[in-house]
Chain length 299, copies 2
């Protein structure tokens, strides 16, 4: 019996089939473009089509779906998603009823965190914080070995924790959010201000690798802000590990060095000295695996 995990992103829909039984191996995976511009109905049909094709080839028992935004995992309602501006209060579980299988829906960063927890398969890790650094910033919490949802399923909105009081305007409409400083969107915006032209994060990374001072400075500023929020998370939750995923986690030392420096400066020594700060080794797989195993996430 197998489980299907689907990571519905703004650019691609990535999916994979895993064996039920928590051995965390993906036996089949694939990715197709999302085509958000074609609207909600089109994207939902794509998801239906993915599910049906996987059902034909594998003995699928249940489906897990990760998607960015405010998701109530209990009901399956997506209240809002930054990648899908036309999805408001959509009950995705109901929309997908036609496939006639149990469906579990959660925030994509929650799936990432849960996938990281499962993939590590390390009994000494009980409390894990996952942070996805992409165009936006997402978060997921594993507390005492369980995916934590909070009161209404909206926990771990790490991207919207305030890092500078009354600071930069964020896409969410508020000011000073972490996402307005440390996301891909924010870094590209800052690069445009500094260099006077649009530069992608990966070009900026290449520039930094070649020693471009301004590029290095942009990453340093961005990820020192992330470090401040991480220090707060450590002071609050005293976790075993913080894991970074998403495209920006490829920046490796440009990310980890400023983050660790700021954590050291802003945490109680006893709280940070044993906390692992790592970059995901399996970004995409974590999201798929976490989604696929959502069926087990509350056990």
């Amino acid at each position: 019996m197998r489980l299907l995990g689907i990571d519905v992103g703004g650019t691609n829909i990535k999916y994979g089939v895993v064996q039920n039984g928590l051995d965390n191996k993906i036996i089949y995976k694939n990715s197709i473009i999302t085509e958000v511009v074609k609207g909600k109905e089109f994207v939902i049909r794509k998801i239906v089509s993915i599910i049906e094709r996987c059902k034909q080839n594998y003995d699928i028992k249940s489906i897990g779906i990760g998607i960015a935004g405010l998701v109530d995992s209990a009901s399956g309602i997506i209240f809002e998603s930054p990648n899908f501006p036309d999805w408001k209060d959509i009950n995705l579980k109901n929309e997908l009823k036609v496939v006639d299988l149990p469906i579990f829906i959660d925030n994509d960063a929650n799936c990432f965190a849960y996938g990281e927890y499962l993939l590590r398969n390390d009994k000494t890790i009980r409390n894990l914080i996952g942070i996805t650094l992409g165009t936006g910033i997402g978060g997921g919490l594993i507390i005492n070995g369980k995916l934590y949802h909070g009161n209404y399923g909206f926990a771990a909105e790490i991207g919207h924790i305030k890092v500078v009081p009354d600071g930069r305007r964020c896409n969410c409409g508020q000011n000073g959010c972490l996402e307005a400083y440390s996301s891909g969107f924010a870094i590209e915006k800052k690069s445009k201000e500094i260099f006077g032209e649009k530069i992608t994060v990966s070009s900026l990374y290449q520039m930094a690798l070649k020693g471009n001072r301004k590029a290095i400075e942009i990453f340093k500023d961005a990820f020192e802000k992330l470090g401040i929020v991480c220090a707060g998370l450590i002071n609050l939750l005293n976790p075993d590990i913080i894991v970074f995923g998403g495209g920006l986690s490829n920046m490796k030392d440009f990310l980890l060095i400023p983050v660790k420096k700021v954590i050291q400066k802003n945490c109680y020594k006893k709280l940070y000295e044993k906390v692992k700060i790592e970059v995901s080794q399996s970004n995409i797989d974590s999201g798929i695996i976490g989604a696929a195993y959502l069926i087990h996430s509350n056990k």
Copy 2:
């Protein structure tokens, strides 16, 4: 069979006896001065004496102790305590072995949060954040109905979450901590700057009640900072309730109005709209009850 709860503060040692069985009623309580200046050995003998006297009068089954500072509840080690500068790496469980009863030791704000959770006895509350506002600021987390300790028992150091990057110097040696803005110590320090003389928090409160603009402004500034941290806590943990305790929680509206205003401005609407923000109705009792029931806190 009864449980003894002891709240070891820098000024007073408050203690009470409760009936085992989680009915949360204090059947006897008392308070004696701590006399920190007389040193560690003296204070420990006072605690032994309290325990022995309670044992004589009540069928005490176990003892719970709450104390400010970095406490490892598993081992009973107090690594450091702001109220007891001469206590470093003290294993209080061992120090109290002479009383020959099971002893549970935890951070005082953890006891407060757990006591609030028990006293409310409300099945709809599973995730509670307790914040004690006294000379310093402490925090305690109830997550999924359990007292949360994090990896090494040091979770919920809410007073040392950074609220202003590179801001005011905190007593912990770092900069920009919440405690450097919203604690009794910080408010009295600010009052001295503004008025040129030492004014206690309770005198300042009387002045604010009489309409003194400067006094009102001092509270507003202090508690807006607290609001920023609370907004972060809500964005992160999406709790059912945040409860304030400690002396400053008596400031009522001078506390709650700025805190709620800032939360509203800095949280996702879906995350804050159902979160209760309250002041403890039973400050001292919560700490005693939480300590007494520590024996049940991991069940």
